[in-house]
Amino acid sequence: MKELPQYTEDQRDCLQEIVNVAMGQAGDSLARLLEVFVTLSVPKIQTLSPSEVRVALRSFVDSEYVSAIRQSFHDSKGQDGLRGEALVVYGDSSFKELAELLAYDDEELSEGLEQELLLDISNVLNGACLNGIAEQLGEELVYSPPSILGQHVPVEKLFQQDQMRWEMALSVEINYSLEQRSFNCDLLLLMPDTAIDYLANKLDEILEDD
């Protein structure tokens, strides 16, 4: 078994601050979309192996069933650059909160409408977050259009029809509180080991500048 690449404490701190700034931008976009004030919390960042991802997801989203959106990204350097899949995963209870906030009522919320809502919110979160990260790294990323990976499926099922090849996930656990409500989602950046090394080098460059 291949050993999981580990980031140093400095690299992790650097990445956390980069994600923090990106999450602030995503939170602002979400606040504008929902017309509420969004309370941000410190995103929890960890690197996980594929088997650890399932366990971490289950405990974080605190829900048997989840819905998830995927979007692939890459830079112009091809195989050796920064690339991977960004996944936004919601627990079913969190998703219901979001639908209520956007004033959808239960009867109205057909599968089609729900897909639209999932794609819209994920686009805002993913777009702002990935753009924010890329900008600070001095990278230009290209994205595929977002698509639905699973809707109301058990966590285990998400990764079953797994066409993605990835060795490590960078898990960014995000908690947004909206006035009296709160919802969690997990942004997972799934990357092959070449991209993980590439990112580590980028972080080192930023740290050397400081």
Partner: protein, 121 residues
């Protein structure tokens, strides 16, 4: 005499970025805090005639620090430096007594600009 300056942010990199953005040759005596609780201790110790304050932190966040400073009647010129770019976040910290609000990522131009604006240099 050197100005007691507090830099309060949970990220080591963010603290270094603030330090790097300070005006050249500015005579300050810097204290670092990694959350609001440590920040409050430093303020009570007189180590924060001026302070650069992050909002999103563990233990005690920046909003709570502003509330405590006001409630305890402490004197500190507080400039918030945050990734929370919602217009309402700015309004809230200004109402809570902050002098100004700078959006992250910080750089020398932004920081020096704010200090000049208030005649603090």
């Amino acid at each position: 005499m050197a100005i007691p300056l507090l830099i309060c942010d949970d990220s080591n990199m963010a603290r270094k970025q603030v330090k790097k953005s300070l005006p050249d040759g500015w005579d300050v005596d810097i204290t670092y805090a990694t959350n609001g609780v440590e920040g409050m201790d430093a303020i009570r110790n007189g180590q924060a005639e001026m302070m650069f304050l992050d909002l999103t932190m563990p233990e005690m966040d920046g909003y709570e620090v502003l509330d405590h400073v006001k409630a305890e009647g402490l004197k500190s010129v507080i400039i918030v430096i945050s990734a929370d770019i919602q217009p309402e976040a700015r309004e809230r910290v200004m109402a809570a007594g902050a002098l100004d609000f700078i959006k992250k990522p910080i750089n020398k131009e932004k920081l020096v600009g704010v200090l000049q604006k208030y005649g603090l240099l």
